[in-house]
Subunit: 290 residues, 4 copies
């Protein structure tokens, strides 16, 4: 489809040509477009990142603002083009990527809306910055370019039931251990009988600790102090450490599966040989028809 | 068995119908019951969790209390129904789920027993709250619904001897390294010769550190300070980091097993040899027909 | 060999009977002896552990001392019996278990040697306690009882070259990253120009940090503070996190190997069928001699 | 080639003999040279490491300096010899090992260059020390000696696309979660309304936290304090904990591959079909002889 004629033999309209460049990646122009877009997205993410650093914003604030608007306008043009040349514009707009494309340009425009500009409270501005960052989602398009992502997704999808069992078991363990630790470590009082914050003051807080511990992250902002608490924590760590085995094993086994060539149980009617591939038409030993 | 007649052709009694709904999940009513029960259990766990948050209890204490009693009464009715319609009531009562079902409702009733209500010490109340949380165990019934849990259990069960060897080796390593660290780091004194608490003051405490380190949790509440201690700790971390390989590998291999070449338990009628492939026609040792 | 006659048909001497009980585990008496010994070792380890807890030693010091001596005398009798009834006493004495058996009883006797008793410095006593703990090594005999340990050892042994490459790469990475971090984070000065201890004050200290980080332990007693240091640390964490793949994959592949039935490339001379097991004598399809 | 004659039958020149010793490892002299070199490199790395420890440098500074110069001169001689006897000297000089060999000796010579010696600022000296440490790179030659490293490299190389997808997904997750945490935890003020440093003060800082958390390192120098922040952190830990599955599974599957059914690159001369097993005699599609 790289030539200037469409499938019906007629010359391509500008919309058909634009569609090929923007949505497809199998023509040289399409490839170039995707690579340029990717670089632009990466740069715009870096700009947002630097804008969040106080010392940087004070020095190069204007430059960052200009870059921000440049990228926003570029992405706006791209977004409009996508709607114009898409075969089913509505379907694109409400697709995952369509929504992400929109959310990637909205935040910058929001900063000039009076409601948001008028109130200079840092907190509100922070929210706007948050929306801005959704632009990073665009990079997900990267995955599109690599067919390998599919094999991974399939392996995880095939193991979804096993993973669900695993995760629910882990969550129950976290609720139970978190509650137990809350009861063991929760009520500590100082010399005057006043209760001290231990980080195990409620079940949700204890569950946070349980997650931090079971995933072997272990910040140390909350850690047990009593002998029983330490013993329970040690048991839980051993459990958490060993538990990683299960999902690892599951996906390993799943990934090893598809690469194993399918062998039929068909026997060659002439030489009786077995072990033929599923796609075989002739016996690979005697050449007889299967 | 979804119709209103039992296996003997007679109309089902209410007990038989209730049994189907409560204990089985293959009729629409049974499925609905299980799903509703699951949601109720989840909600009741959330109620207990919120009740443990001080600020929440102060504001919505009464609401939480009412919800708590609502769920307790519902679960009590369910428990009584289970006993009434079970074919072998005693067997249900002393089964794992029977005991869990009972423990899930007892704590709430305990709060109105004078002995526990009269004494307003926080510690005692805490114990009652602990019993309450056992309700979370009910969720284990979830696993029932997923047949996948079985494959996992089998893989772990098949590897139980290997896992036992692994765990006992790890425990011995923890005792030995914990003791060594106690000797290296345990005796520290300040400028006046008074001993300082280092977190390595006894072997059990050092073992707690060893578990925290070997499982790569690493809170940092206890960490070595001497050069020798740090060196030993570094070696131990490397060991702990590599050790995860072993159980991972074991279960991976175990899970990959069933997909491999199936071997029958068939015995050759002529030479009594075993270990034939499922596709074998003749004995591979004597050539006799299988 | 469970009867009272030896292989030559003569009645067994007491030494032969004692040998069976102490060294072998296939007679009921031998099994009982091993189990009792195991429990005694576990209890003696627990005694040593409790003795290291200050508050416990003050209360039950005498009881612990008596238990300590009881176990020491029991193990001494066992050690003497082993030497007396071993077929090659010298070989036993200098075997791994012989040395461990001796080291397990020596420390307690050392406490009554004047040189050690006379000097009541805590440090010296600590050293004696250290030797005492070697008794825990005895538990390693456990592994003996489980034939599964062998499969694990073989898998690790088969992958030893790969593991060596992996470990040396990790060590080089630790030396390099440790040095780099020492240069980046090492020289920090306070407002008066005095250097501050950062935990990166020398290459060995930085390497300790690198190990703590790369193994994902992450105590937090030492952590980077500069932007460059944090960036390098982040890269290193990603590397360390991914690196666990390599040894895991190696041993997984190795463990999966032996269970895969060996298939020869031999072709049946009569039916030309392939895929015969290595131990096959006849073709499994036509029954012809291979 | 171990004898004193070269391939043309003529007696070997000293350059040819030196080449064999220095560059090859299959003659006894070559092997000895490699082992001695390895020990020298290890020792010189240890010397650099000890030199960085302040207390050590003060005591044994002179000894370390002498050792440093001894190794530098030895390595210089080795480097010159390599250039002299290499068949293509320029190719060696600009090869990876050639550059590393040069960088390993340069730093020591730099310390006597007036520009660097004259300025006794610790910072500058630190830079020189940094260059010195590149010597450690030499140890990479170790990997050369082990053919096993190749199998590992191949497995990782074969899985490169999958690993790239995985890593880019992780990076996007880190950017997104880091930004979200910056917005949630970034703006904290004390009682007087002044903003407090939380460790989430900019997106790059939050991303550092995200890496520390997702890789399960968890220093604890930065940790969330708000309820929403802790919830998000807990979710992220679960994700990070499970994510290790994916690369582990990929490389496991890749490493297990080579032991599976080998497929030739042979093309059927009649029907041009590909994908035949190594043991195939006839084309499995058209039956034609391969």
């Amino acid at each position: 489809m790289g030539n200037r004629f469409n499938q019906s033999g007629e010359p391509q309209s500008w919309r058909e040509r634009a569609y090929e460049v923007i949505f497809e990646a199998d023509t040289p122009a399409g490839k170039l477009f995707d690579v340029v877009l990717l670089i632009a997205i990466l740069l715009s993410v870096v700009v947002v990142m630097f804008e969040s650093v106080d010392s940087f914003r004070r020095k190069h604030g204007e430059l960052l603002l200009k870059a921000e608007w440049l990228f926003t306008i570029l992405f706006t043009i791209e977004y409009v083009m996508r709607i114009l040349c898409a075969r089913r514009p509505l379907r694109y707009i409400f697709s995952f990527y369509g929504i992400v494309d929109l959310l990637a340009i909205v935040p910058t425009y929001l900063t000039i809306v009076p409601v948001f500009t008028g109130v200079p409270s840092t907190q509100r501005l922070a929210v706007i910055r948050a929306l801005r960052l959704l632009r990073a989602f665009r990079i997900f398009k990267l995955a599109h370019m690599l067919s390998e992502a599919k094999a991974l997704k399939q392996a995880i999808w095939a193991a979804r039931a096993k993973i669900a069992v695993f995760l629910s078991t882990v969550l129950i363990a976290i609720v139970l251990v978190g509650s137990a630790m809350h009861l063991i470590e929760g009520d500590r009082t100082d010399e005057n009988g006043n209760s001290i914050a231990t980080g195990f003051d409620s079940i949700p807080e204890s569950m946070y600790w349980a997650v931090v511990t079971m995933t072997t992250v272990g910040y140390g902002d909350v850690s047990p102090t009593t002998a029983i608490g330490k013993t329970l924590a040690a048991c839980m760590m051993m459990l958490g450490y060993c538990m990683i085995i299960v999902p690892t094993g599951i996906v390993s086994a799943e990934l090893a599966q598809p690469t194993r060539k399918a062998i039929t149980t068909q026997v060659c009617p002439e030489c009786m040989a077995e072990g033929h591939d599923k796609d075989a038409i002739h016996c690979k030993f005697c050449g007889g028809k299967l």
